[in-house]
Assembly symmetry: D2
Homo-oligomer: 251 residues x 4
Amino acid sequence: MTLIKDITFTQADIAKLEAEYANKRPQEILAFALKQFDNITISFSGAEDVVLIDMAAKIKRNIQIFSIDTGRLHPETYQFIDKVRKQYRVKIDVIFPDAAEVEGLVKEKGLFSFYKDGHKECCGIRKVKPLRRKLATVDAWITGQRKDQNPATRATVPVIQIDSAFSSGDRNLIKFNPLANWTSAQVWQYIHANEVPYNELHNQGFISIGCQPCTRAVLPNQHERLGRWWWENAADKECGFHEINLISNNN
Amino acid sequence: MTLIKDITFTQADIAKLEAEYANKRPQEILAFALKQFDNITISFSGAEDVVLIDMAAKIKRNIQIFSIDTGRLHPETYQFIDKVRKQYRVKIDVIFPDAAEVEGLVKEKGLFSFYKDGHKECCGIRKVKPLRRKLATVDAWITGQRKDQNPATRATVPVIQIDSAFSSGDRNLIKFNPLANWTSAQVWQYIHANEVPYNELHNQGFISIGCQPCTRAVLPNQHERLGRWWWENAADKECGFHEINLISNNN
Amino acid sequence: MTLIKDITFTQADIAKLEAEYANKRPQEILAFALKQFDNITISFSGAEDVVLIDMAAKIKRNIQIFSIDTGRLHPETYQFIDKVRKQYRVKIDVIFPDAAEVEGLVKEKGLFSFYKDGHKECCGIRKVKPLRRKLATVDAWITGQRKDQNPATRATVPVIQIDSAFSSGDRNLIKFNPLANWTSAQVWQYIHANEVPYNELHNQGFISIGCQPCTRAVLPNQHERLGRWWWENAADKECGFHEINLISNNN
Amino acid sequence: MTLIKDITFTQADIAKLEAEYANKRPQEILAFALKQFDNITISFSGAEDVVLIDMAAKIKRNIQIFSIDTGRLHPETYQFIDKVRKQYRVKIDVIFPDAAEVEGLVKEKGLFSFYKDGHKECCGIRKVKPLRRKLATVDAWITGQRKDQNPATRATVPVIQIDSAFSSGDRNLIKFNPLANWTSAQVWQYIHANEVPYNELHNQGFISIGCQPCTRAVLPNQHERLGRWWWENAADKECGFHEINLISNNN
């Protein structure tokens, strides 16, 4: 399927593309995304979605990458982000929350309000607003989310979709999830086979990695999502990055 | 099947029992073992084989338990052994290596000879000889080994066997492996469902746990055996506890 | 000496006050400061300057406190700040850096530029600018700096001074250093005697505490300043908070 | 003062030597000890008494060194002992406790009896008996104890003494304490100036180092002895190594 650049995708276009790419390899989906969009960025969380960077770097030079620094990441995650920057010789847009918003929340509720009031308020300020600001500057983005990460919220993640949660005005933001159909095991096979660097926290029992106070190591055989916001229900365990998953009829 | 106490089992008896018990639940195998033998002991490594203790404590009072303290266990493992002792109100025979043997090895080769010369020499002194000394005092023992722990060496572990590696003279030592057919996931389901205490190291990425210098956390999706003697081949990754596994026609 | 509120202190006034208070106890200096100024705030770094909060809370209700969250503090420091907030039932103004400035530096130089380019640039963005913004809203501030913390830069710290580095326009910002003449040992005696909470990092060999990547534990008998910006000279080991120390004739 | 080898020192000889050497440098005391006795050994705890090994290695080849491995040292201490062995190319007699004694105590009281019953019983089995066995094979030993380590028990430690606690029968065991008059600060100056390797635990807030469950990091300005057996009185904080300190008229 050949698509002409700068065309705004309709729901019908996306449906057709999803049908075409759903069973393709992550690298093919990624190659299509990077070819189709000039102004497209990879979302890097500091965890095993580093495979997207490794794959992209083998497809094209000068890829755009961003990461949200909530101000509360693990020291190991900051080190890992910088390691990736150096190893792949890429600039990474590290997006930071708004001072006034953080200050307002913290003064009122302290630095650990999420344990009591739920993580949505804090994630909203430290993650989602900075993300929205970043996504307003691009036409498409690429994420590492996978169906197996959260059966309650990600079971139907498509490989390509209109991200209506972050689209604005007249423009549809396109979202690619090239790893949607991969399992955690496949991601790690790729990491080992390609000697991709990984976050040191993975050596300490961490699987999924988010902010320091809201992430923990999991026990053997525990689902990775139990390492995130463990005081909340599985269905609430989304920070807002992938709000589109929570909107019905989302493809 | 009713067996009379104090009869020495023959290979034929064991074959019959194995056929009878191979598909039974661990608790049934354990109940049989504890009923059949008065002088029987549970081998506790300080890891998830704690489920054997939990199961046994629900079957019978005054169970015998032993653990080999090689002198090089993790601080967390010593704490865990003591936690189990207190919680289940049991005495644990903590077996210690012979001073002269440890001193001889360490003077000659230092405290980390295993990284260079392989773990067998050190395991021999710190684990296997103390084990042999302990096993010489009982008629049967119960271990937590499972087929899924090491495909290279444990794939055919039976639930009951004559332990010819540790039998002596005229007497056959019987070995029970009630968890042989359970998966790691089943063991952990049991731990969670029964609120069984577990070693803190399991919160730090450790699955299999042995001596401190020879055990490490594993990465997500890595097989637990990669956390043991990682500088050696899978087929060598047995400390000698289960030497019977390495003897052909072992059932 | 009785001073009338809302009078702007001159250099001469300050000299007279310094002479009067130089040898007084920290609590007396603090009591004077809190009585003299309504709009005065305590600077809390998340380290042992917590004693100022303990002392102030015994003098007066509703003290103002602020802390600079550079976005790179230790997890233990965030926990400690919140512990202090709860235990003393105070609101703490946690001041955050400007997103655009942080993003600009990090995109250009990565997250660890200070190891190569020195800490001033990063401190400027993450600490000094937020501090300047905060100090513009008060008439006076109270810090925990002591002469013994850095012989190269703090040997002559007075207990009261005009902070010309952060004064602006027509107004003199007054700075109180009630602990200037105390030793580290005295601070810790106070902490133990008054059961003041302290940062967990102090249990891990940390004495002075700043940002995570720029602070480390020190060896026995090492001066605490060796735990800060260890790749730089002692005379450069100021983040800019106490720039007045570096200005000659600083009263 | 010239002494003839193989002469048994009397109390009068020792008193004379103590007068002569009390104010000499550790290296001079050590040189005398090593010259005077052929069968003399340095006691190495795995902590900062490593300076004795560094000093001795500069005086003489083939020095004897021993260390008591209680079976409960920190992983970092085992690593450090081996590092010293390799760096100084020395064999170290690592003395191990008697299996039956350890097993007896642990079966009866568990692995942490010292928190309840005091450390003497466990130290007796894991440290003092192995020490006694080792000391029975030498004519003299050299220790790193210092007056400043424990004002309650070590304030009068001489540089040379008859160790009547470990002498036997017709023979006087001589004990040298070359660092008796040095401060902790002097020891660490020596370590830095001579690039002597040190235990990693010193980077984590540990000053004095013993067994893992009975040692902890200390807070800033805390006396190092507070890091040992913290649930007991200062006057009891000796493991029995230096029992002679507790005997009155100990020369």
